[in-house]
């Protein structure tokens, strides 16, 4: 059974991280507040998970100003996309094996 779970990435074990990656997989970029709303999490919680994903170079941050308001948006990196796809594949395999 080792093979089946080897594709599962520990980085994506948290639900919030899974959520972030899912949104960024299908959107070119997504801003902090919209992300917060779609995942229904608190600022602090989301920020810490985003930081963790950013540190592992799975997502990139883009800070800019819209008018005078700061706006932070996030995009998935190639590595992030690759690893997340692998993770999804592993989940699917796990289900199919049952």
């Amino acid at each position: 059974m080792k093979d089946l779970i080897s594709g599962l990435n520990k980085v994506f074990e948290s639900r919030v991280r899974l959520g972030i990656m899912s949104v960024l997989m299908v959107n070119d970029s997504f801003d902090f507040n919209s992300l917060k709303e779609s995942l229904n999490v608190t600022d602090g919680n989301l920020a810490s998970h985003l930081k963790a994903l950013e540190d592992r170079k799975l997502i990139t941050v883009n800070k800019q100003f819209i008018g005078r308001k700061p706006n932070t948006s996030y995009s998935i990196t190639r590595t992030g996309e690759h690893l997340f796809k692998q993770h999804l594949k592993a989940l699917e395999d796990l289900i199919n094996a049952q």
């Binding site: 639900r15 899974l18 899912s22 299908v26 959107n27 995942l39 989940l91 699917e92 289900i95 094996a97």
Partner: protein
Amino acid sequence: MEKNPTSAEELKTIRKIMEESTKFLSLSGFSGLFPGLIAIAGALIAHFLILDKGEMSYYEYFATLSGKETVIIKWQMITVALSVLLLSLLAAFYFSFRKAKGSGKSFWTPVSKRMFINLLIPLVTGGLFVIILIIQNTIHLVVPGLLVFYGLALVNAGKFTYNEVFYLGILEILTGLVCAMFPDLWLVFWIIGFGILHIGYGLFMYRKYEA
């Protein structure tokens, strides 16, 4: 191996998040139903009150009128059409807003903005085109123009909401093209395109997703 409900659940959640973050799903069936009813009401007002009933053929009727009367009727028709448009938009917004609120989602999201931009580009183009048709006195192409451009707008916006919107768009385009072939029957095609198709769509969506 033991059953692992979490991975199945996880995949389900992932799919849901992916869909919700790329599709505007707060579009309510009522947002189709009420504009449909309003469009039919508008058509009936135009037919019975402005065009003196019975006379289906707008153009023949026009020929019997003097220039001044024609202008008055033209403006009355435009007023009715704009009222239908305004009330329909209000109803469409209201019911979708209510659905979003009811399910605890926000109405303005990156997805809904994307959907509106994609809806508005063909729609505003169509609106301007139809205004030009009216100025040029090519009145027989006004209703086909409205239907075709509205259909294109729906096809475009359909990528960001329920797939059914795409198919509604295709039907509107077809209705518009057939209408262009039979311009005398514009009122019938208006009722089919803006009335019956919307009502059918609204009922279908309500039963499928909300009932």
